[in-house]
Structure formats: structure tokens, C-alpha cells
């Protein structure tokens, strides 16, 4: 290549390069300027500029235009919502834009608590879409409007609510007596009414009735004349319970009470207390991206998924054992509000409310620990609201009726406690401290409550006062006592002779009454409380007039049966309902060492004799056969350690 040609070529190239340099430099300048410009001309700045203009017109103080940041108890620990939502950030409100309106009156200062702890969303973001939770990497969108109160429950996770039934009757009473005429329970902050909407959190004097009466007496105001008092003790307790449930979050409270009333914790565990079903302690923290929405009819969010679940659980998972709760749509919303509040996210302890400290640090319960509400919260979902038992269609297991005399007559208190504590294989969870999480005194309360469901026996005085009808008595004796004690009360393999001369019980009326009332500890003799006074009188008469020359009472022992024959008998008569195979769905599957380990021989004997439908002939077995079957069952496993007291 000639030097001159090369020279010209390079000159031309140089010229082009110089042009390129100039153009590209300018372009780079422009491009680089865009970045700080976009940072500067942001959504929040525009919003704050709008505020400044509006404030100027309203002759208010101008504000500094900057990102506004408040601390937050959430792990993300700052909230910048106030950069656009100026009204909520404590800036003087102006009209003209909902962003600048003041925050509705709430007990917590947004400047101290931030916003996301109550509302959800992404506190660190300053663009609307991202802050409201629209980003793919932030799966905590704002709580939708109907479920706003879930945010309250995230911190106030251990608010103690009383017995749902008491609350319901208290609410009815409050309305019926017109208390709402002077008191506001909805948090509307009316100047004319005294606000009770958060009285459950703030606390109230239990002597409020006395104060009312005194105030009514001292005042000349006409309104006191309409005061609904006085209330009886029970009514007072109901209204107290209702007042205690007023914490400023009615949806949340309704949801929590519904869950307690329906007995969801019979299967579901929340905060370590509950059955063996799915743990709900963090259900509010489930991520939508991990859920399967293919069968969900509503919106594809956690709330939508929960709604589908609560409407028809088997739709989401055909193998689910959860029965459909049968709730109205409004009730479903309330339950969803409560469920969304169940989260295990750590919250800075500087922000813990007293109920959370009491619950999480001091170990106090957030549910009532009396027998009836405990039974309702943990047992009623399977065993029925009054222990009537449940055998719903489908795959859900059979849950025996435990609230009736048929069971309670032969189940001692100790047996009840042990069963609750240890559960039954396959179908009933263990409720002791290490599994279901109930304390021993709570289990005692449940057993005591069940005991109250038993029929009340007429008093001995009443019985003694009734007329004696011996023929009737003998008839009852024939039906009731002979299956164990023999045709003439001579004693059998399973029941001692009643007609023995040395039987101390059968000699005296009051002793017989006592035995019928309470049964005999550690034996198959349960109580017999379904009789009315005349029948009892007749029965006692029949027993006392038995022929007393059958073998001595003191020599009698229950005879051990033959397990082989018992097995044969079981196979022929019992397996159709009680077998371990699917037949066991009609009645507890008892041919199982784990079941047998929970039931003493006395309970087994009493159950066989007394708990079946008495009209079915084929189920009535002779005492020897009963002994054989019991022996067979016992052969499957050892007896429980203590037989328990009555």
C-alpha cells in the first residue's frame, strides 16, 4: 500500500471518528442524565408537590419534600408509605386528594408503628405498585379491604377471648336491653356516646353495674331512666364476656370466636395447641406462589385460596379429611380475617402488646380454660357440640358419642382423662402436654365438663319418698342387672352375686342408691342415672328382696375368659363394626393393641354389655362369652397402668 493512499484513508477515518466521538459523547451525556432525572422525578415527589400546592392554597405550612420513613416492627423495619400517604404520616391534612386525608382514628400512631404491620405491603418501596405488594419478589400484598383487621391480629396474636356462647348471649343481651343507646361499640368516636369499642383491651371495672346504679341515682338526666339495669349474675357474666370481646377489631374477633365455636383446633394446631392436622400457626404467611390455584374459583391470592378451602375443602384436595364447615359468606370472611392474622414472622419485642407478652412469654392461655369452652374448641368438631358423636359421610372417621349416659356411665373420670391425654390410635390425637398441648388441669376440666353432661340422678330423699312397685322393680332388674349378675343375682363370670348374704351393698337402700349413682371403682359396674325416682325405688326394692343364699360375695372374683373362644366370638359378631379394616369406620376399631392399651378390662366389659343397641338380640351375649371376648382383646396388649377412679 502506498503511504499516501494509506494516509488519505486514515485521515478520512480520523474525520469520521471525530464526528462519532462528538455524537456519542453527547448521547452518553443524555443517557447518563436520565438516571438521576428519573430518580428525581418520582411518584412520591409529584405527590408531595401536589400537597405543597394544595397547602399553599389552604394557607397551611409548606412541607419539606423528602422521603418520609417511619420505623416498623416487621423484620423489614422501615415503612415509607408516608412519602405519598402524607395524611397518615402526621402531615396536616388538606382536601383535594385522598392521599392527604388524615388517617382514621386508630389506637396506634403510624409515625411510631409504620403502616405495613397493620396493612401489609412492602414498606421499603416508594412506588405505588411495589409498595402495595405488586412485585414478584415481595409476596405480602396489602391485606384486602374485607380482611384489614388481620393486621391487628399479627401483633395482638394472643388476645384472650371468652367462651363464644357467653359472648353471643352477652351481645344479644346488650342489644336487647338497649345499651347501644348510650354506648358506642363500633369505634365511631361519637361525641354523644361513651366509647366501649376497645374496652376489652383497655380493661374495665367489673363493678360497672354498681357505678351505673350510683350514677343513675345521683343524676337528674332523663337518659338514666332508660338504663337497662339491674342484671342478674348470669346476665352480668354474659355482658362481661361480650365487653371483653370488644377490642376494636370486630371481624377478627368474630373469626377467632367462630374458630373456637366450630372446634377447628380439634384437628388443626395453632401455636402449639391443637390436633394432629395441618398446623395453622403460619397460615397467614403462606406464599401465593406456592399454592395450587387450579381448582380455585375465586381470585388467585391466599385469601381466595382460603375462601375455596372453607367453602369446599374436598375440592382443593380430594384426600382431605376436613368436613365442609358450612359457613355463610360473611362468616367465611371473618374466619379468613383471623387466619390471615396467623403468622410466625418475628416482630421486634419493643412493639409487643401486653396480650402477646402474656401469651408468648408468660405462657398464659388466649382461650378460656373452663371445661365447656375447652370442649367446644377442641373436641366438638369430631364429637359434636354436646358430645353426641359424629359419623359424617365420606372418609372422615367415626367419632363416638361421649356426651351421653351410655358412655359416661361406664367411663370413669380417670379413664376420661387418660383417653384425652393419650388419644386413640389413628383417629384421635393425644392432647397431653407434649402433643396436643393441653395442661393437666385443662384435661381435668374437660373430663369434669363431660361428667356434667351425664344425667342427674334424683336425690335419695326423693327416691325414698316414691311409692314402691315391686313388680316393676323386678322387671327392671331383669332387664338391667341380670346380664352381669345372673338371672337371680347369683353372680356370673363378670358380675358378683347380689343375693349373697355377705354382700354389704345390697343390704341397705342407701348403699344401693350410692352404687347406682356412682358405680364401683375399677369394676365393670358403672352408674345408672337414667332412671327416674319411682323406678329407682322399685329397683332398690327388688334388689333388697332377692333370695340371699347364693355363694359368698367375698369369695367371688371375675373369671378370666378364654381368648381363643373370644377370638372366634369376636370374629363372628363384632368385627363387622369394630374391625380394623374399613368396617371399623362404623365404630371404634378396637382390635388393636394401641386401643386396648387405653382401656381397662372393666371398661371393655361394661361397654360390651351396656353400650350396644339393647334391642338387637345377636349382640346380647352371655356373661361367659363376654368374659371370653374381653380376654381375647386383652391378649392383644397390656392393660393401662392405672385403672382410674370414678
Amino acid at each position: 500500500m502506498m503511504a499516501k493512499d494509506a494516509g488519505r484513508a486514515t485521515s478520512r477515518a480520523l474525520g469520521r471518528l471525530r464526528v462519532a466521538f462528538a455524537l456519542l459523547s453527547i448521547t452518553l451525556l443524555g443517557v447518563l442524565a436520565i438516571a438521576p432525572a428519573t430518580s428525581h422525578f418520582s411518584e412520591w415527589r409529584a405527590a408531595q408537590q401536589r400537597y405543597v400546592n394544595l397547602a399553599q392554597r389552604a394557607k397551611l405550612e409548606p412541607i419539606g419534600v423528602r422521603v418520609r420513613q417511619a420505623p416498623s416492627p416487621t423484620p423489614d423495619n422501615v415503612d415509607r408509605c408516608g412519602s405519598c400517604h402524607l395524611g397518615a404520616a402526621g402531615v396536616a391534612p388538606v382536601d383535594g386528594d385522598p392521599l392527604f386525608a388524615a388517617h382514621p382514628s386508630i389506637p396506634h400512631d403510624p409515625a411510631r408503628f409504620g403502616c405495613t404491620i397493620c396493612h401489609g405491603g412492602q414498606g421499603r418501596a416508594v412506588t405505588g405498585r411495589a409498595a402495595h405488594g405488586g412485585e414478584a419478589n415481595w409476596e405480602e400484598p396489602l391485606f384486602p379491604r374485607p380482611y384489614r383487621e388481620a393486621g391487628c391480629g399479627v401483633c395482638h396474636s394472643r388476645v384472650r377471648l371468652p367462651d363464644p356462647e357467653l359472648v353471643a348471649s352477652g351481645r344479644a343481651l346488650f342489644a336487647a336491653r338497649g345499651c347501644g343507646g348510650c354506648h358506642d361499640v363500633d369505634g365511631h368516636d361519637l361525641p354523644t356516646k361513651r366509647d366501649l369499642s376497645k374496652v376489652g383491651l383497655r380493661g374495665f371495672s367489673r363493678q360497672w353495674q354498681d357505678h351505673h346504679v350510683r350514677a343513675a341515682g345521683e343524676s337528674t338526666d332523663d337518659r338514666w331512666a332508660a338504663s337497662p339495669l339491674p342484671l342478674g349474675d348470669e346476665e352480668h357474666a354474659a355482658v362481661d364476656a361480650y365487653l371483653q370481646s370488644l377490642v376494636g377489631a370486630p371481624q377478627l374477633v368474630a373469626g377467632k370466636l367462630l374458630v373456637a365455636r366450630l372446634g377447628c383446633r380439634g384437628c388443626h394446631r395453632i401455636d402449639g395447641v391443637g390436633g394432629d392436622g395441618p398446623d395453622l400457626s403460619d397460615i397467614g404467611g403462606r406464599r401465593a406462589s406456592e399454592l395450587d390455584f387450579s381448582r380455585v374459583r375465586g381470585e388467585h391470592s391466599l385469601a381466595g385460596w382460603l375462601r375455596e378451602l372453607l367453602t369446599d375443602p374436598s375440592r382443593l384436595d380430594p384426600r382431605s379429611r376436613m368436613p365442609a364447615p358450612g359457613l355463610a359468606p360473611a362468616e367465611i370472611d371473618q374466619v379468613i380475617t383471623y387466619l390471615l392474622s396467623l403468622r410466625t414472622d418475628p416482630i421486634s419485642s419493643a412493639f409487643w402488646p401486653p396480650d402477646r407478652v402474656r401469651g408468648m412469654v408468660l405462657g398464659e392461655r388466649d382461650f378460656p380454660t373452663e371445661g365447656r369452652p375447652l370442649f367446644q374448641a377442641f373436641c366438638s368438631a369430631c364429637h359434636g357440640a354436646r358430645g353426641e358423636g359424629r359419623a359424617p359421610a365420606g372418609a372422615v372417621a367415626f367419632a363416638p358419642a361421649i356426651g351421653g349416659d351410655a358412655f359416661l356411665a361406664i367411663a370413669s373420670d380417670g379413664f376420661l382423662r387418660e383417653t384425652v391425654r393419650r388419644g386413640r390410635p389413628e383417629h384421635m390425637p393425644a392432647w397431653g402436654a407434649s402433643n396436643g398441648g393441653l395442661h393437666p388441669e385443662e384435661i381435668d376440666a374437660i373430663a369434669a365438663y363431660l361428667r356434667t353432661l351425664q344425667h342427674a340422678l334424683p336425690s335419695f330423699a326423693e327416691v325414698s319418698a316414691s311409692a314402691l312397685d315391686l313388680a316393676r322393680g323386678r322387671e327392671v332388674f331383669q332387664q338391667t342387672c341380670t346380664p352381669c349378675h345372673g338371672e337371680r343375682g347369683e353372680g356370673t363370670a363378670i358380675g358378683p352375686p347380689l343375693a349373697a348374704a355377705d354382700n354389704p351393698v345390697t343390704a341397705r337402700d342407701d348403699a344401693i342408691y350410692g352404687t347406682l349413682a356412682r358405680g364401683v371403682d375399677d369394676t365393670a359396674m358403672g352408674s345408672f342415672r337414667t332412671f327416674d325416682a319411682p323406678t329407682l325405688r322399685a329397683l332398690i326394692g327388688a334388689v333388697t328382696t332377692l333370695d340371699r343364699n347364693h355363694g359368698p360375695r367375698k369369695d367371688w372374683r371375675p373369671r378370666a375368659g378364654d381368648p381363643g373362644r373370644g377370638r372366634e366370638l369376636f370374629g363372628r359378631h363384632c368385627v363387622t363394626c369394630h374391625g380394623a379394616r374399613p368396617e371399623g369406620r362404623k365404630a371404634p376399631a378396637i382390635e388393636d393393641p394401641r386401643f386396648v392399651a387405653t382401656a381397662p378390662d372393666s371398661f371393655l366389659t361394661a361397654s360390651i354389655v351396656r353400650r350396644h343397641d339393647r334391642s338387637r338380640e345377636e349382640l346380647r351375649r352371655s356373661p361367659d362369652e363376654v368374659a371370653d371376648v374381653v380376654a381375647y382383646l386383652r391378649s392383644l396388649g397390656p392393660a393401662p397402668a392405672s385403672a382410674g377412679d370414678r
Binding site: R422, G423, P425, E426, A430, G432, S434, N435
Partner: protein, 163 residues
């Protein structure tokens, strides 16, 4: 510019020997120092204290865990299985490259989301790129409660805990 130093080797053999010896001594010492620095440096980088959680945790009472149950602790990355022969604890960490596996409920399969390794409930590989079984972890019964130590490994063939 005149050179004022004299860098010629000395004529005297002893001097040469001396120089060589000093040079060797110096370089060896430096070499050792260098080597020592490397070793001390590596020792420096080895952590002397670990800011990590205690690896032991309680599982529950064995009588409350029925046969066939697979308990999953996601936070600890442990499966506790009540098998035919008793209780045992498996690490949920895939042996391929350390991702956290998932147990498919209602089945006997444990699946790893990273490369699709699948294991059975005994921890054995059924498919996928993993080559070794899920590690067995120490499981003990202490005062009636099952306790797992996720930091201690146990033989793959160790007997399950019979209760």
C-alpha cells in the same frame, strides 16, 4: 557516570563460600517465613468460633407419632420417620448439591427441586443425579422425648430407634 561499586565475585574461595552460605541462609529463612505466612494465613482464615445455631432439637414423644408418619422440620432440614423397625432421622439436604428436598405428602417419595433427585423414605436414591443416600442423623430418646442432633451423622445402616 562512573560506577563506584565492585560487584565482582571475590577471588578467595572462602569468601565465595561465605557469600553463598549467607545467601542461602537468608533465602531459606525468607522462604520459611513465606511458607509460614501462607500456613498461618490459612489458619487465620479458618473460623475459630461459629455463629451458628445449636443443632439439637426435640421432636416429640414417640407414643404420639403413629406408624408411617413422616415429620418434617423445614427450618432444621430434617425428616423424622416412624418406620416399620422404629424411629430414624434423615437429613433433608440433598446429597447431590445441597438443596433442601421436599417430601411429597401421602407418598413415599422425597424429591429435590434442583436437579430432580428422588429418594425413598429410607433415604436411598431412586432416580436423579444424586449418588449417595440421604444422611442419617443422630436420634435419641431423652426422658421420654425424641431428640435429633442435626449436626451429628450416624451410620446409614444403624438400627432405627425402637420404642
Amino acid at each position: 557516570m562512573p560506577l563506584v561499586d565492585d560487584l565482582r565475585m571475590p577471588s578467595d574461595e572462602a569468601d565465595v563460600e561465605r557469600r553463598r552460605f549467607l545467601a542461602l541462609l537468608g533465602s531459606s529463612a525468607l522462604g520459611l517465613a513465606g511458607l509460614g505466612t501462607v500456613i498461618a494465613g490459612i489458619r487465620y482464615l479458618e473460623p475459630d468460633v461459629l455463629y451458628e445455631e445449636d443443632t439439637r432439637f426435640e421432636v416429640g414423644r414417640p407414643e404420639t407419632i403413629s406408624l408411617g408418619t413422616v415429620l418434617v422440620s423445614r427450618a432444621r432440614k430434617v425428616y423424622v420417620v416412624h418406620g416399620e423397625r422404629g424411629f430414624y432421622a434423615l437429613s433433608a439436604v440433598c446429597t447431590h448439591l445441597g438443596c433442601v428436598t421436599r417430601h411429597e405428602p401421602g407418598t413415599d417419595r422425597i424429591v429435590c427441586p434442583c436437579h430432580g433427585s428422588t429418594f425413598d423414605l429410607g433415604g436411598r436414591v431412586t432416580s436423579g443425579p444424586a449418588r449417595t443416600r440421604l444422611r442419617r442423623l443422630e436420634l435419641e430418646l431423652r426422658r421420654g422425648v425424641l431428640v435429633v442432633d442435626a449436626g451429628r451423622l450416624v451410620d446409614d445402616d444403624a438400627r432405627p430407634l425402637e420404642v
